[in-house]
């Protein structure tokens, strides 16, 4: 477990350093994801230990957003001033984005590879 954590943190650190130095508009952890992906590709597979640590981190991914979400309490004043445009824009834009992306992708993907279309249940 320790090896896997060290590897993941090293990728993140490398990602942070690269994006800072090159002034890339990508967050460090996303660059770290690309680096880890490249390492797995070189290795030609996912070592069992790394897979297990990654799976347990990702199983609890939703929890990790709670502290930032609680930050809403620091902005009640600002949110109150523009509450109508903010709430309409958030709901409307999120629904529109999901519908457009989902519909375009399902049309285009159906044409490219039909065998991948498993049926969802949730």
């Amino acid at each position: 477990m320790l090896t896997a954590l060290t590897l993941i943190l090293s990728c993140q650190l490398a990602g942070e350093l690269i994006t800072r130095f090159l002034g890339l508009p990508v967050p460090g952890p996303v660059a770290g994801m690309v680096i880890l992906f490249a390492l797995l590709a070189i290795k030609g597979g996912v070592p069992e230990e790394i897979g297990a640590v990654a799976d347990s981190l990702l199983k609890n991914l939703a929890l990790l957003f709670v502290p930032a979400g609680v930050g809403v309490m620091a902005h009640f004043g600002l949110l109150g001033q523009d509450w109508l445009p903010i709430s309409v824009a958030l709901v409307g834009s999120t629904l529109a984005t999901i519908a457009v992306t989902g519909l375009v992708m399902s049309r285009l993907a159906r044409a490219s590879a039909a065998e991948d279309g498993d049926t969802p249940n949730g």
Partner: protein, 238 residues
């Protein structure tokens, strides 16, 4: 025996209390979500945020004090983002086979996210500062905050709008996709990741690994697309 207020002073000064509170509130949210048979509006993040905000408000605790404990959970967002390489690697053959469709849909989604957020906000009279903070709302928080800063908005307001968007996407996304007949796991994942970044990805991963891989990839690519497109579009229209 110590006075209760002395115990409170001691506990609220240590990270332990708010770290435990964060985990417990999320556990309660998950329990409720499972018990309800996975009703979308009982999203565990939403429940946990409401419970924690309620308790902090009642006890008169500031967000800064809370965050000193909760930052240990918050920190793990970085490693978890890196870990998204694993589902992506496992599913990469399928990602590569639909690369062209993926890039096209992602660009359509990215432009829709920016255009509708700013358009709706502007129509309803939001202030310029709010519009700037709203524009990158579908992008993962660290990038969105950077973009807002560049435009001249409020990064901390953006962070909150990003999280609210994420929760909204995770709650409303799956039923909407079912309603409009999008059944393909790749399309469902891509839509959730493009519109609602990591929170949408967390939701997609719970249901299906293929959807999770497309969602994680969409989150990264949308961050990149928005960081490039938004400043250009903003200059064209404002």
């Amino acid at each position: 025996m110590a006075d209760i207020s002395e115990v409170w002073v001691y506990l609220s000064a240590s990270p332990l209390l708010f770290l435990t509170l964060t985990l417990a509130a999320f556990q309660a949210g998950t329990w409720l979500y499972d018990r309800s048979g996975h009703k979308p509006f009982l999203n565990p993040v939403l429940t946990a945020v409401i419970v924690v905000v309620g308790l902090l408000t009642l006890s008169g605790t500031t967000y800064e004090t809370y965050f000193e404990g909760a930052q240990f959970v918050h920190f793990l967002l970085g490693p978890a983002t890196v870990a998204l390489a694993i589902p992506l690697f496992r599913q990469f053959d399928r990602v590569r086979r639909s690369a062209l469709a993926l890039i096209t849909s992602l660009l359509c989604g990215s432009l829709t996210a920016i255009g509708t957020a700013v358009g709706l906000g502007w129509l309803l009279g939001a202030s310029r500062e709010t519009l700037m903070s709203l524009a990158p709302k579908s992008v993962t928080a660290p990038v969105a905050m950077g973009i807002t800063e560049q435009l001249g908005g409020l990064p901390s307001l953006t962070a909150v709008l990003v999280i609210l968007t994420g929760i909204m996407g995770a709650v409303l996304g799956p039923p909407l996709l079912t309603l409009i007949g999008v059944k393909d796991w790749r399309a469902r994942g891509l839509a959730l990741g493009t519109a609602s970044h990591g929170i949408g990805t967390a939701r997609a991963l719970q249901v299906n690994e293929l959807a999770g891989a497309f969602s994680g990839l969409a989150m990264g690519l949308n961050a990149l697309a928005t960081a490039i497109l938004l400043p250009i579009l903003w200059r064209l229209f404002f």
